[in-house]
């Protein structure tokens, strides 16, 4: 079987699972549903391994069209698969995390009335995500992009009887629409200028347009590639939750925890990172867009991480951590360290899924109480969860030799030596971010698993380790969270050619990873050398601060809040993004809508068109009715005048 055929199977297996569990969930039963969906996702995962083997060991890549979807004028939109190293890696990540989350859900969703529906949704999500990563043109990419958004909406609102879940799902959907608006404009710009949206054509022809300008506002010449790159990045900002479109991600935690792990940490939110990496031939042509990406990403890495420090909900802490890590990845893309961004995406997928599933395990034990203030000392009751969560936390905090260390360290170093405008600011952000990351995740860890037991007596009686289906995925995920970094760091970042091969394109003047490669002397040396680097000590300081405030002096919290002064309320309100949106966009659009209603609807449409046409007819008929006198001789006279008129016309004309 060629890798093209394999890919068709990989993509369609979860779809089949979704259809079976979704439409035939009743006859299949709960057990049948999860067996079918897990079996098919497992098949996808195994086939993905085969594809990965073919791509890396035999060097096969493929770009084949399956069939024509839309034929419109001279434009042809195909369904097709573009298989290269980047796709193969994404296939592995998506199917691997999806498989584990499927298994985990058996335990987490136990007893939920929507059991079959849940499995149908997550299989559907897997299908959509696979469509997104295997697309060979932007149209199909957009299809996958929108589908994951839709399933994300369905899953955040999975418990649709909860008010907050409905609000959260709507917010996610609407904020993503804002991003998609930019994204679809970007695709349109590509189609308009290059005349094709097939990756192969676009990437081959993009350099021809490097110096093309266009003037959207008269008098301002903008580089075409910058406009395209920034528009596409706006789409990525929505999906990958970058400032200021990040506001939906914390809210999305209203969905079931497995979903937070799969969609809102490991896969869907990385779609933006994937897309920018895929479009690297376009981004490399626009220094403006690269600077913007660096600044937006780095700001997110620091400032959204800071918000995580003041959250009490364990899932929200991890959610803000996701926002911060997405910021790191984005900043890496900005300095053209695409491989580092994708590398962090891979390690992050493992350890963040681990952290989320660990948090989910805690939530099961706590009877769906997610408040960190009610936890503490859980280490005794759930050792496996505690241990795996610790591994995830160490990996996230970039402590060598855990996976997160290699990827995050590469990003920080790449930003440090980058020459593009904004890199200096970005370096400060990501460096402080290293401290903040360690602080918030260890704060959550210490509050949940160590210290005094603050839960209610009733909950305490039932505290126990979660069942095997829950802890097994934790243990499986813990393995790559430890070793994945050390294994991949060399081949992925510094080898020539790297694991990603020709899938990413970096111009020589931006090639920061190429410079770093000269100093790289193996994974072990990198881990040992970390002791001499700044980010390592920042992370250690973060852990120590967390330990001091949460365990050593638990009472110091009030004092710190006092010292922080106005900063604490700012963080507590998440920099007021929600308030700003409420003030400007929600009230603004309400005001605008009211204006349209009063003027446009009531005055123009109702008064002028609807009632106006009625009044006009009444007025005309009121005037003309006087012609109808009812006297025979008037009518006769009219007839004769008409007749004479016609006669004159006939004779003269």
């Amino acid at each position: 079987m060629s890798i093209h055929d394999l890919t068709i199977c990989i993509v369609s297996a979860p779809l089949l699972g979704a259809v079976l569990a979704g439409f035939f969930g009743k006859p299949l039963g709960r057990r049948g549903s999860h067996v079918v969906t897990i079996g098919l996702v497992l098949a996808s995962f195994v086939l993905s391994c085969l594809v990965a083997k073919a791509v890396w060991l035999q060097g096969v890549t493929s770009d084949t069209n399956l069939y024509t979807w839309v034929l419109s004028g001279s434009f042809q939109f195909n369904i097709g698969f573009y298989i290269d190293q980047l796709t193969a890696l994404m296939l592995l990540i998506v199917t691997f995390v999806s498989l584990l989350v499927h298994i985990y859900s058996i335990g987490y969703m136990q007893g939920d009335p929507g059991y079959q529906r849940f499995f149908a949704y997550i299989s559907l999500f897997t299908f959509a995500m696979l469509m997104l990563v295997t697309a060979n043109n932007m149209f199909q990419l957009f299809f996958g992009w929108e589908s994951v958004g839709l399933v994300s909406y369905l899953l955040i609102g999975f418990w649709f009887k909860r008010e907050s879940a409905i609000q959260g799902s709507l917010k996610a959907f609407i904020v993503n629409r804002v991003g998609d608006f930019g994204f679809i404009l970007g695709i349109a710009a590509v189609l308009d200028s290059i005349g094709s949206i097939d990756y192969a054509t676009v990437f081959a022809r993009a350099p021809e347009f490097a110096h093309t300008t266009l003037s959207i506002l008269p008098g301002h010449e903008w580089s075409l590639m910058s406009v395209i790159a920034i528009l596409l990045f706006i789409g990525a900002m929505g999906k990958s939750a970058q400032i200021p479109l990040h506001i939906w991600l914390p809210e999305s935690m209203e969905g079931p925890t497995p979903i937070s792990a799969l969609i809102h940490a490991a896969t869907m939110v990385t779609a933006g990172i994937f897309m920018v990496t895929r479009m690297s031939p376009i981004y490399e042509l626009s220094p403006t867009a690269l600077s913007l990406i660096t600044i937006v990403g780095a700001s997110g890495a620091l400032f959204l991480g800071l918000v995580g420090v003041v959250q009490h909900d364990i899932k929200r802490v991890v959610a803000y951590s996701t926002l911060s890590q997405l910021g790191y990845m984005t900043a890496a893309l900005g300095v053209s360290a695409f491989s580092a961004g994708i590398f962090h995406l891979a390690t992050h997928a493992c350890f963040k899924a681990l952290l989320f599933l660990g948090a989910g395990s805690v939530i099961i034990a706590m009877h769906h109480d997610q408040d960190l203030r009610h936890m503490g000392g859980l280490r005794k009751y759930m050792p496996i969860t505690c241990f795996t969560f610790l591994i995830g936390a160490l990996s996230l905090a970039a402590i060598p030799p855990f996976a997160g260390f290699y990827s995050k360290d590469a990003i920080i170093e790449a930003i440090q030596i980058s020459q593009i405008p904004g890199a200096g600011y970005a370096y400060v952000c990501v460096l402080l971010g290293a401290f903040v990351t360690a602080l918030y995740i260890f704060r959550a860890y210490f509050l949940a698993f160590h210290g005094s037991e603050r839960m209610q007596a009733h909950t305490k009686e039932h505290l126990k380790e979660s069942p095997k289906v829950v802890t097994l995925p934790l243990m499986i995920l813990a393995v790559p969270s430890i070793v994945l970094g050390a294994i991949l760091v060399g081949p992925m970042l510094y080898q020539k050619p790297s694991l990603l091969g020709n899938a990413v394109k970096v111009l020589p003047q931006y090639d920061v990873l190429g410079i770093l490669a000269h100093h790289f002397q193996g994974a072990l040396n990198a881990a040992l050398g970390a002791v001499k680097t700044l980010p390592f000590w920042f992370a250690i300081a973060g852990i120590m601060t967390a330990w001091y405030t949460c365990l050593y002096r638990p009472g110091s919290r009030q004092k710190i809040i006092q010292i922080l002064g106005p900063i604490y309320p700012i963080l507590k309100h998440q920099y007021g993004f929600d308030q700003l949106n409420d003030l400007v966009f929600i009230r603004g659009s309400k005001c605008f809508a009211r204006f349209l209603h009063r003027v446009g609807d009531v005055k123009i449409i109702d008064d002028s068109f609807v009632n106006g046409s009625g009044r006009l007819v009444a007025w005309i008929s009121n005037t003309t009715r006087h012609l109808q006198s009812g006297y025979l001789y008037h009518y006769t006279l009219a007839m004769i005048i008409g007749l004479v008129g016609f006669l004159v016309w006939l004779v003269m004309g």
Binding site: L627, Q628, G630, Y631, L632, T636, I640
Partner: protein, 101 residues
């Protein structure tokens, strides 16, 4: 010797007379019917004149048809007039404005 134009002038005069009668008559519906008859006769005169001067018999045949129809029309017109009088107790033209808009 009478010319064709003499006949045409006569019929035009008759026609104009009858039209004027219809328009300015405000009193009697019978007068109106008579004017219509006169109008038809003016037309008939035209037919006969053309038929004679062009040596074509079709015009004269046409006149017979018109006379027949005119007779029937007069009968119907008078019948309607009688019914109208029963209902309105009047045949004054300026009182018949039920169709006023």
């Amino acid at each position: 010797m009478l010319l064709l134009s003499d006949y045409l002038i006569l019929s035009a005069a008759l026609f104009t007379l009858s039209v004027t009668g219809i328009v300015i008559n405000r009193n009697n519906l019978i007068l109106l019917l008579m004017c219509i008859e006169l109008m038809l006769l003016a037309v008939n005169t035209n037919f006969i004149a053309f038929s004679h001067f062009q040596g074509n018999i079709v015009g004269e045949i046409f006149v017979f048809f018109i006379l027949t129809v005119a007779a029937a029309e007069a009968a119907i017109g008078l019948a309607i007039l009688i019914v109208l009088y029963r209902n309105k107790k009047s045949i004054r033209v300026d009182e018949l404005n039920t169709l006023k808009g």
